[in-house]
């Protein structure tokens, strides 16, 4: 009697936003093996960035690697390009970059949380989280001029200034949002049925997190405190604006939710600090040089460590650009973490990974 069944999830599946294919081998509904196919979104951006686009255009192209963390991509690329150009950027630009990165993190984390809620079968919480999330989209729209593709960081600085009325509206909206967030935390933390679905589900132990080199909230929920903001200070002064690291120990879906929710508080604090202490100065510093040599750069995207490697050869076109997205590091762990869970929890687990396949396969 064959007791093992294959259940496919994806490429098109309602619980997935992106084309991504999992093949679960299950016993009844218990998963014993997972196979993943993550190469659906491979578009060839790396090659195009090294051949078709000039290095200044690349900053807009890498933004389209991922719509959720486009600001991280553009900032990371801008920084690596600045390293190649040996360019220093104004402090105001740095602060504005951090501001948008953190705003983006808020919207991305809220999206992820709502996705977890939806995939746990809690439609009302999805609606609630999405309702509360709208403010971050409006703020981003006001700051950058678009709801998702910000194109805010460009080589040498940022593209737009932060208007004072917008800065004020950010602070105002945060005042409204904070109690809403408290309420959300309360629901995610204590709702009984949600805890049935989330607690002890999809557990990644700290040992596994270290062994599999996991990054981002995924790792932090397992107790592995890996956060680029905590590790570098050279390009963006995170500590200065009040960054603190959030970790949890359980490593399950619930812990990931909690880490994300707490990080939203940290992001809000950072944003408030930035707005209150925004230095005056230029937005952009320019140079006519061409990229030369090789450089690497890391930045903390909402999903974890984003890594760029670039090599220039004194022409308009880069010789090599390597993008390592956070989800790319997490996929080996994701595939292992499904094992021994019910198929019923799969959507929630996928949601809690917050995968970004368009980053992964580019």
């Amino acid at each position: 009697m064959s007791t093992q069944y294959n259940i496919p999830v994806g490429a098109q599946h309602i619980s997935l936003l992106e084309p991504l294919h999992f093949k679960f081998t299950t016993e009844n509904e218990k998963i014993i093996k997972t196979e993943a196919n993550v190469g659906y979104v491979h578009r060839g951006i790396e090659q195009a960035c090294c051949s078709k686009f000039k290095f200044r255009q690349v900053s807009f192209v890498v933004g389209r690697v991922c719509g959720l963390c486009s600001i991280s991509h553009t900032t990371c690329y801008s920084q690596v390009a600045e390293k190649l150009l040996k360019l220093d950027i104004p402090k105001r630009a740095k602060y504005l970059r951090m501001l948008v990165i953190e705003l983006d993190r808020i919207h991305s984390h809220l999206l992820c949380l709502s996705h977890v809620a939806e995939n746990s079968g809690f439609e009302a919480l999805f609606m609630k989280t999405m309702r509360h999330r709208e403010f971050s989209m409006e703020l981003l729209e006001a700051v950058c001029g678009n709801r998702i593709q910000y194109d805010f960081s460009i080589i040498g600085g940022v593209a737009r200034d932060l208007r004072t009325d917008v800065a004020q509206s950010i602070l105002d909206k945060f005042k409204i949002f904070r109690p809403q967030l408290d309420e959300l935390v309360d629901i995610y933390k204590t709702n009984w049925s949600l805890s049935l679905k989330n607690k002890g589900i999809g557990v990644l132990s700290k040992e596994d997190a270290i062994r599999l080199n996991v990054v981002g909230p995924f790792a932090r929920a397992s107790g592995l405190g890996v956060d680029v903001r905590n590790e570098t200070e050279e390009l963006l002064p995170w500590k200065e604006v009040g960054f603190e690291i959030i970790t949890d120990t359980a490593g399950d879906v619930h812990a990931r939710n909690m880490v994300r929710l707490k990080e939203i508080y940290v992001s809000m604090k950072i944003i408030e600090n930035i707005i209150n202490g925004l230095p005056e100065g230029d937005l952009i510093s320019d140079t006519k040089a061409f990229p030369e040599g090789e450089a690497v750069n890391r930045i903390e995207a909402p999903r974890g460590e984003l890594f760029y490697y670039a090599k220039g050869n004194k022409t308009q076109v880069l010789e090599r650009l390597k993008i390592k997205a956070p989800t790319f590091s997490n996929i080996p762990a994701m595939v292992e973490t499904f094992t021994n869970n019910e198929y019923a929890s799969v959507p929630a687990i996928i949601g809690s990974y917050d995968p970004c396949l368009s980053c992964t396969s580019r």
């Binding site: 069944y5 294959n6 496919p8 490429a11 098109q12 509904e29």
Partner: protein, 625 residues
């Protein structure tokens, strides 16, 4: 009348002997003829049955023969036990031999009649002769396809008739000593049947069946000894026992008879032998499950139900059977082999029948009878079909059956109707189950706390069984596409005719239920319980039997919806409708999904332990009351 009844005993024996001698075609002819004759006699008896039971004695020579047969049978069993080094078999047989020897010295010459044919016996005659006859005809073809010598093929058919004779005798036996012999005869027959294939597993399972049924034999002997030793009872015969049972407040012999019945009915913890019997050729399983062997259990309980009704023994039995109903249903869930699923569900439904018999009110007995008849028909149909699946389509596991819809639409249809008939309205088995629930509800106050628990068990067990049937039917029905026209498979006419006969019998009996109920079942029930006939009142479109009623219109519509719906579902073809392929997330994934599987490995020891507890408590309760 008496001659007819005797012919029911003698014809099968004669046929059985003749079959061994005759050549193939003649044997085939004789089998069909004998089946027809036996069925005709049984049905004739049914039409002629009167309210007064027929009692008759046989010449004292027969007593001697019976005695000799008893001893030789036991000696054979001891021989078999010793030869195959199964300590349980021969120890139990020697025990019986000793008890029997003691009895022969102790017992006076019996004065009473040895045979007692009431309506219940005739009900059994019909069940045994018609259904076993169909199985005999079916096995003509089936055994032809087995790999064994021609003599053993004839021997197989002749064994079926022998079995029928034993069953007929058993159903008519009044004297407990005779009853013991016929009981042991069926045990022996089943032993020989189970080891028919003569491989290691068959032999092992046959021995299991043997020793387990020996316990039943021992229990009957214990009952006889107790009766003989207790002065008040008089002769060890059913009629005497039942007549005096209510006045004598000792029910220990009945408790022993109950145990004999429960062992034959393969209730936990003795369920193993019936499951093990699946190694035999399929007609044997059909025989054991539908009409003969296991039906002895509800038969004995029904026989003694007037006495045990309302006693603590009955209460314990109700508890046991209610528990077995759930446990066996759960056990069935864990199976994948088609025949094993059927075996487990048989145990579950038998538990329900025994439960109803133990409750013993007229309506409950009616429910038990309905269940016996329809379960016999449905199970026979399903087992014969299992044989067809094995021999024609080579499918043994339910998970292999996914292509059945295309390969054999008729067989698939039979499986579908067979399973549906065990569960869903409007079929008789459903009516039986429904009556049982309502009956226990109505008599609940008599059982205090037991009744609600029993009801929970029945409700849960019923739900588990429905899950089981959906699982099996689901495995069978799954398919990708379909051909434009249904092409029925060609199976051998013997297979086809027997299956169609049973199918028709099932449908006709279901349709005839409103008439069968007042004119047959309630009368048999009245006869069995010895109580007044429960009036069957037709009021508008409802038929009231005691406290429960059968609304005809919903049943009729359900009858149209379900069987014809399923038939139409399998054979209807929509024209001008485009076909689409299944949704697979846009991927091309190898499909290998079927229904959930369940495992009862952990639970089985507990089930057995609880079963043993119940068995012990039957004796204890009877002893201390």
């Amino acid at each position: 009348m008496i001659a007819l009844i005797e012919s029911l005993f003698l014809i099968p024996i004669a046929v059985s002997a003749l079959l061994l001698l005759l050549p193939k075609t003649a044997a085939r002819f004789l089998t069909i003829l004998a089946t027809l004759v036996l069925s005709a006699i049984a049905i004739y008896l049914f039409t002629q049955a009167t309210d007064r039971p027929i009692q008759f004695a046989v010449s004292p020579v027969v007593n001697k023969i019976v005695m000799i047969a008893d001893f030789s049978l036991l000696l054979f069993v001891i021989g078999a036990g010793l030869k195959q080094k199964n300590i349980l078999v021969w120890v139990l047989a020697i025990l019986q031999l000793l008890v029997l020897g003691y009895l022969t010295t102790k017992m006076s010459e019996t004065q009473s009649t040895q045979f007692y044919v009431d309506k219940l016996s005739i009900f059994m005659f019909i069940l045994v002769n018609v259904i076993s006859g169909v199985i005999a005809v079916y096995s003509l073809k089936y055994i032809d396809e087995e790999k064994c010598s021609w003599f053993r093929k004839k021997y197989f058919i002749s064994m079926i008739f022998w079995f029928m004779a034993a069953m007929n005798l058993l159903a008519a036996a009044d004297n407990l000593e005779y009853f013991y012999l016929f009981f042991e005869l069926t045990t022996l027959a089943s032993y020989l049947f189970i080891r028919f294939r003569k491989d290691d597993e068959s032999k092992k399972n046959a021995l299991t069946a043997l020793w387990m049924n020996q316990i039943g034999g021992l229990a009957i002997l214990a009952a006889i000894v107790y009766t003989v030793l207790t002065a008040q009872y008089g002769n060890p015969s059913f009629s005497d026992l039942i007549a005096k049972g209510n006045s004598v407040a000792i029910i220990l012999p009945f408790a022993f008879l109950c145990i004999a019945g429960l062992v034959k009915g393969a209730q936990y913890p003795f369920n193993k032998w019936l499951i093990g019997a699946m190694v035999a050729p399929t007609p044997v399983s059909a025989l054991l499950h539908s009409s003969t062997m296991v039906k002895i259990a509800p038969f004995i309980i029904l026989r003694i139900s007037p006495v045990i009704k309302g006693t603590p023994v009955a209460t314990v039995m109700i508890g046991l059977t209610a528990f077995v109903f759930v446990a066996a249903a759960i056990g069935a869930l864990a199976q994948d082999t088609f025949k094993k699923i059927l075996a487990h569900s048989t145990i579950a439904l038998l538990a329900l029948m025994i439960l109803m018999a133990a409750v013993g009110t007229p309506v409950a007995v009616t429910a038990a009878l309905i269940l016996m008849l329809f379960h016999g028909l449905s199970k026979c149909l399903l087992f014969l079909n299992a044989g067809v699946l094995e021999h024609v389509f080579h499918m043994k596991q339910t998970s292999d059956m996914s292509k059945l819809g295309e390969a054999g639409p008729f067989t698939a249809l039979v499986v579908a109707v067979g399973f549906m008939s065990l569960l869903l309205p409007p079929f008789g088995a459903f009516v039986g189950k429904w009556f049982s629930i309502e009956t226990i509800g109505t008599v609940a106050s008599g059982f205090k706390i037991v009744a609600p628990l029993v009801l929970v068990c029945i409700a849960t067990g019923g739900a588990v069984l429905s899950l089981l049937y959906f699982k099996v039917l689901g495995a069978m029905i799954s398919r990708t596409g379909e051909s434009d026209k249904v092409k029925f498979e060609h199976i051998h006419p013997i297979y086809e005719s027997t299956l169609i006969f049973l199918l028709c019998a099932l449908l006709i009996c279901t349709l005839a239920l409103p008439w069968l109920l007042p004119y047959y079942f309630t009368q048999v029930a009245a006869d069995t319980t010895g109580l007044a006939l429960i009036p069957v009142i037709q009021q508008g479109t409802n038929i009231y039997i005691g406290s429960v009623h059968l609304p005809l219109i919903p049943m009729l519509i359900a009858f149209i919806l379900l069987p014809f719906g399923i038939i139409a579902g399998l054979f209807v073809r929509f024209k001008h409708v485009d076909r689409a392929k299944e949704y697979m997330c846009g991927e091309k994934v190898e499909y290998n999904f079927s229904s959930f599987y369940f495992s009862t490995d952990k639970a089985t020891p507990y089930f057995v332990a609880i079963g043993i507890l119940f068995f012990v408590s039957i004796v204890l309760v009877a002893f201390f009351m």
